[in-house]
Assembly symmetry: C2
Homo-oligomer: 281 residues x 2
């Protein structure tokens, strides 16, 4: 149990971490920092923190664990700002969806930084969508490097486990390669399909079934956040997009040749893998 | 209310139509035909029909409405086989996912045929997955042509409405163009993404979150059925695939150029349309 955990950023993830940490009694005090006073107030009212405010130094003072839950692009600046106020042994982690650039920037700045990525977002955003069970059974990837403090890594690992996650360890590069394919690529593809379905002023949405709804749900996510994520991981996503375009080209060729054998082989392979997922998660 | 409705084919859709028709008392008798006696027995035991058997002529005799709920590829042969046993005014419809080839074949064969497509499948299949509420609020597209009998069209329209569907009318060609984009394309794309995620013996499925699960759910559908659907609608799907590959190429270019403005515009557009769907369905 921690004496004090500080969450930086009152969004869906920050709010849910606060709710979960308080519900599971992981800390004597959960503090939350927000840029806007209204956001801090709302987080406090929703029970996401014992104390919430806009004073960054006050927020992190005496914390044993600081969790950065802001957009990736402002993490380094915030870390530079709160660093002077950190207790000597304070551990810092984050929830960013891309790990190489974050770990490179913050790992150099903070001696006890450990990168994390709890994979529990949704197409919703904002603290209104926060839930204390958001992380239950969610995968969380922690991304140590050779220079990561071993004790800090263990603490961060245990923290996510205590929040309810299934914790896994990957290098930042491995992480970015995998999430490019299982998260960032699907997001772009869902958006692309919605865009071509709704082009030319045609709106066939009244005809769609539950399959299309599920398939495109992620396209409802916040564009600003996803643009930033995609830009931060643009090389890996570019490679994934290339693989996908190649695979779709094979499907198009199979259709052109009316090659049912090839088409069925591709669909069978996908079903085999997808069924594995059904039983696993 | 019908005196007798006959369902040809004991799968997810046929079984669910039987359950719904009996539950909503749309007919004095619901008959079901299956190729295999075990399948007929199971449909009867599950309550999907008042009578179920493998004798096609007996199944359709005296029916006022026959619903073809088999794979598309066998519909024409079955219709030829049961045609001599149809009552004079019997109306026939189907549930096929592709309409132009079905309507062309059956519309010529049966004077009171009306093509239908209730969009209520799922990645599951088989009568075990049948549910009497499968069609509630589902879109159902009926696809008359210039030669379709008007009274038969009205009856089929009313039937799907009474089953619980939101019924819409499109020409067979319009239907195939739209479902290529909202159903067949997403299916192929979900399969393609699963395949590139799981290639090279890598199985990063343990890391996936709810977004990936939703996005790829349809890839769990039966490969035989989907291969047939895709082959039957291969021209429209080919065009949709081309549009998608083009759209993905634009995204790849935006990533290569690190063009956040362009990328955000695409994601915003998709979110705009997807949010409409959230409030509509």
């Amino acid at each position: 149990m921690f004496r004090k955990i500080t969450i930086i950023g009152p969004g869906l993830l920050g709010g849910s971490i606060g709710l979960a940490a308080r519900h599971r009694k992981l800390a004597q005090r959960v503090a939350l920092w927000a840029r806007r006073p209204e956001a801090a107030d709302e987080a406090w009212k929703l029970g996401a923190a014992d104390e919430a405010g806009t004073d960054l130094h006050k927020a992190v003072a005496d914390a044993e664990l600081v969790v950065l839950a802001t957009p990736i692009g402002v993490m380094e600046t915030l870390a530079q700002q709160f660093k002077p106020a950190l207790a000597e042994n304070c551990i810092v982690t984050d929830v960013g969806s891309v790990k190489y650039p974050v770990v490179a920037a913050l790992g150099g700045l903070l001696p006890r930084f450990v990168g994390s990525h709890p994979m529990a977002g949704s197409e919703q955003s904002g603290i209104e969508a926060a839930r204390r069970d958001l992380f239950e059974k969610a995968a969380c990837i922690v991304t140590p490097t050779e220079t990561t403090d071993k004790a800090a890594l263990q603490t961060v690992y245990d923290f996510w486990k205590a929040i309810g996650c299934n914790v896994r360890t990957l290098s930042p590069v491995e992480h970015d390669e995998i999430v490019a394919r299982i998260s960032h690529l699907p997001h772009l593809v869902a958006a692309a399909v919605v865009n071509i379905v709704c082009n030319n002023g045609s709106h066939p949405l009244e005809f769609v079934g539950p399959g299309f709804k599920d398939f495109t749900r992620i396209a409802g996510g916040p564009p600003e956040m996803w643009t930033e994520i995609c830009q931060q991981n643009r090389q890996e996503i570019g490679r994934a997009l290339e693989s996908l375009i190649e695979e779709l080209g094979k499907m198009r060729a199979a259709l052109e040749n009316n090659d049912g054998v090839e088409l069925k082989a591709m669909l069978k392979r996908a079903k085999h893998f997808r069924d594995e997922l059904r039983f696993r998660v």
